[in-house]
Subunit: 237 residues, 2 copies
DNA sequence: TCAAGCAAGATTGCATACAATTTCGCCACT
DNA sequence: AGTGGCGAAATTGTATGCAATCTTGCTTGA
């Protein structure tokens, strides 16, 4: 049995394998199972998933578009190693877009949505109470999913796609520059945001969201370790 | 001599041909030389640029990511035919993001930038005074470039990339749903925005930008020609 | 005359072969 | 011993071949 059968759900595999590989790599990257700087060799990934280099290339190209992977001509693809400046831009973009998302959410949210959000928050809480790296990864994932669910109910597919990219890149940034071991995305803040949404208080919901993102960013160590120019190559393995 | 030598500047051709082909197709699409619904056959595009289907596929995949091209499995790639709903989402996204862009512009703009903006506005004016479809295309392009230049000086590469996608998709939408023959992007409004920027009046600049986008959208005919389900296939040729 | 079925042609999806480029180790030379 | 250069191995970039799928036009039957 090949690894691909363990990783990729069979129904998606038959439809479009490069999409499935993209998802698998994506999850591995935002889970930090693939460290920034790791080389993603076409042949290696291909044999791992039991496909030819052609489909791997397609997957890598998509990831490069999302900013999760950086490709260098004739050298290959590497897991992105975002700079502090890039990290700041990611959060600046999130502050802007999630503000717009909140407006859409307030306009479109249904009681059924609220219920599902509550379930999601329960998931988060559950993972927070557990210990170990697997639970930590699940917590980060669940935390990001909350933001993605908000984007989904906001009713704008374009902003939703932007958010998917930004959340993925945020995970990468948090993995690189995260400081505290505590919740990378305060659970109670999510809860407060949801309360404001349920009460239909758009102004407060947007404010809470901004503060929430500020808190995440404030928990990072984005000092400009200057003179990193050539050292990059060393750090990057 | 092949067509590719006329279209693709030689220096870029040597670097990455799929990028160059993407640019060429992109320009053709937003210039409306390629109508929405047009089929982009791999073999045809390949022979046109004198490359193999492999390279063409990479270019088409990128365009699909940007939303300029829609691909159907085993059927091929087609120039996107955005729905009225998609069009509304494009402009909603622009209202949000260009607001953020304006904040960045006010924070980073230099006198040299202002000067270049004025030159760009001159370009726009020049094309507006000319007649003919070529001049019209140049005008639409120049008008979009103004927004892209703003995004460039705002200092956020992520938002800049989002804007590049949104401006391209806007061109497609305007081509499809544009009503008036008049300037699709009021030149005087650009000028007013630039004035506000020069005076450092962020609030007014952002307001003017929002109104400007509203005007563009208001000039479209986005009636929900319902029951288009199967008729799509007809309209789409 | 019209509709349904079928077969040939065309087009995409994927794998593989070859060319171009880079990387790495070895050897000679100082 | 250290450095520079050369050559082999590895990796990516691109082209092409084959199988699968879709399209299209013709044929056959009612």
């Amino acid at each position: 049995m090949n690894i691909s059968e363990k990783i990729i759900p069979p129904e998606t595999a038959s439809e479009d394998r490069s999409l499935a590989i993209r998802e698998a790599l994506r999850n591995a990257i935002i889970d930090r199972r693939l460290a920034p700087g790791t080389k993603l060799s076409e042949a290696e990934v291909g044999s791992l998933f039991d496909v030819s280099r052609t489909v791997v290339r397609a997957a890598l190209q998509m990831l490069a578009f999302e900013g999760l992977v950086r490709t260098e001509r004739n050298r290959g693809a590497f897991v992105s190693h975002p700079s502090p400046e890039e990290a700041r831009q990611v959060f600046a973009s999130r502050r802007l877009i999630e503000q717009g998302i909140m407006a859409g959410v307030l306009a479109h949210v249904t009681p059924a949505d609220i219920q599902q959000f509550r379930r999601q928050l329960g998931e988060e809480q559950r993972h927070m109470n557990e210990r170990g790296p697997a639970a930590r990864r699940a917590e980060i994932k669940a935390s990001g999913d909350f933001h993605l669910m908000l984007a989904a109910v906001a009713g704008n597919a374009i902003l939703q796609r932007f958010m998917e990219e930004l959340v993925a890149r945020s995970s990468l940034v948090i993995a690189l520059y995260g400081r505290s071991g505590t919740s990378s995305c305060g659970h109670s803040e999510h809860s407060a945001i949801l309360d404001a949404v349920e009460q239909g208080d758009e102004k407060r919901a947007a404010e809470l969201m901004i503060h929430h993102i500020n808190h995440i960013e404030a928990d990072l160590d984005l000092q400009i370790k200057q003179g990193m120019g050539l050292k990059d190559a060393l750090t990057l393995r």
